[in-house]
């Protein structure tokens, strides 16, 4: 579903991504782990072109994202409309939820349906309610984000993305901004999504979640994927010293 090859990206002189190859098949759940500053989030954001990449290809179902290949072999930026149409099919969940604070939970979910999918208000609201029910928040439908806990806000954000019926979902550290006791409710929703066969690419620090839910884990360091494979392989049998060192700090911290 997603094929990335040779993806490179620099912020000025700082090269954040140094030729990344990564693919995600339909219904596959792939977790990206690695130290902070390694380029995980940037890579994820290249998939829906919130971040532009400089070289390489990002393709979704074969279609190049962010650029158009010209007949003479050059590239030009993708048209704004085409880019919007592509983004509709890709759900994204952010670390800081990014709900719209002046809208209730149900409006947050319904607004894209109305403005982007063009649904009538009543139908959008109905679908939004169904989505909120799915993430267990029917009772909070008419609450504003500031009246919801972080975990509830993130579940609303997931419902907002899901309501658009995306073909794949991107999660950018969805639990990193949450109090520890609120992480579980968000991971539960994500687990159920995975079980339903949603294609998911997840940047996360939740190793336990990655171990149990991911089909594959990719470890990224300094702009390169240095190891990837089934969770068992990456988390327990990686031959890469950098991976082992990184995971060791996790084990140390969680051993009490």
């Amino acid at each position: 579903m997603i094929e990335m090859s040779g993806v490179g990206k620099s912020f000025g002189a700082h090269e954040v991504l140094k030729g990344v190859d990564l693919s995600v098949a339909g219904s596959e759940v792939v977790c990206i782990i690695g130290p902070s500053g390694s380029g995980k989030s940037t890579l994820l954001r290249c998939v829906n072109f919130l971040e532009s990449y400089d070289v390489g290809d990002v393709r979704i179902e074969g279609k190049l994202i962010g650029y158009e290949d010209m007949a003479d072999g050059t590239r030009r930026p993708m048209g704004a409309r085409a880019l919007r149409e592509t983004r509709r099919e890709i759900g994204m969940v952010f670390q800081h939820f990014n709900l719209w604070p002046h809208m209730t939970a149900v409006r947050n979910v319904a607004e894209p349906l109305r403005r982007v999918r063009g649904l009538p208000a009543a139908e959008a609201a109905e679908r939004a309610m169904a989505m909120l029910a799915r993430v267990g928040l029917s009772a909070k439908a008419h609450a504003y984000p500031s009246h919801l806990s972080g975990g509830q806000q993130q579940r609303v954000a997931i419902a907002r993305a899901l309501a658009m019926q995306p073909r794949l979902m991107l999660f950018d550290e969805p639990t990193s901004a949450l109090d520890p006791e609120l992480v579980g409710e968000v991971l539960e929703v994500m687990k159920s999504l995975a079980a339903e066969g949603m294609t998911m690419l997840i940047v996360t620090h939740e190793m336990g979640f990655a171990a149990h839910v991911a089909d594959r884990i990719a470890f990224i360091d300094d702009g390169r994927i240095i190891d990837q494979g089934p969770p068992r392989h990456v988390l327990h049998h990686s031959k890469e010293p950098r991976v082992r060192q990184f995971l060791q700090t996790y084990h140390d911290r969680n051993a009490f």
Partner: protein, 223 residues
């Protein structure tokens, strides 16, 4: 204090108050609308336009209102702009305050976290919808206290209009003082009227603020 004089001049003071309220509200409304337009135009990625708008703001914020008003009223006819004193006063207040309102709205837009805009982009929302549905409400809400404040400042700037003979409160007060030699009474009467106006504006402002920020008020639930 001379109640008889006050009573005799009450009609003219009241009419002055009416003119003041008219100039203030029309000028303020013009300023808000113009300022909002300026702030929107400044978002366009077209450098010459941005510089022009910036220059406009700098000129109107950087020079005394009295001078602007003189230029408009006395200098206007030279460029074919022949306005009545009241019309010039309203236009002057509008132009002058638009520079401030433009900055207030710009500040409002700046308070909208980029993540909220990214969320709109990520669902494929068009830029216009993103502006209208996501940025604008949040920006306006953030700007309300500063808008109310500016309107209060503006209500007091209206006294300057007396210089170009707009028959507003200050003008009537001066007439009364000159005709009756009761400077203190006249100033006292004017102070009362202004206090009424400012009080009304700030109360309305407080209500508007409470209304638009209601969604942020905590109801015991935690953020």
């Amino acid at each position: 204090m001379n109640p008889d004089v006050l009573w005799r001049y009450l009609p003219s003071l009241l009419s002055g108050f009416g003119v003041t309220v008219l100039c203030w509200s029309a000028g303020g409304a013009l300023g808000v609308v113009l300022g909002f337009g300026l702030a929107l135009l400044r978002r366009l990625d077209f450098p010459p336009l941005r510089w022009t708008l910036r220059a406009f703001v700098e000129v109107f914020r950087g020079t005394p209102f009295l001078m602007q008003l003189f230029l408009l009223y006395a200098g206007g006819p030279y460029i074919g702009l022949r306005l009545s004193a009241t019309a010039a006063g309203i236009l002057g207040l509008g132009l002058y305050s638009s520079a401030y309102f433009a900055e207030i709205f710009r500040g409002g837009f700046a308070t909208v976290p980029h993540g909220q805009i990214e969320a709109a982009i990520s669902v494929g929302m068009r830029p216009l919808d993103t502006l209208l549905r996501v940025e604008l409400p949040a920006a306006l809400i953030a700007a309300v206290p500063a808008i109310v404040n500016m309107l209060i400042v503006l209500s007091k700037e209206t006294v300057v209009l007396s210089i170009i003979t707009v028959p507003e409160l200050m003008y009537q007060m001066q007439t009364m003082a000159a005709e009756t030699f009761t400077a203190f009474d006249a100033i006292f009467a004017m102070a009362v009227f202004y206090w009424l106006l400012v009080e009304a504006v700030s109360r309305l402002g407080a209500r508007a603020e409470a209304r638009v920020t209601a969604y942020m008020a905590s109801e015991g639930a935690r953020a």
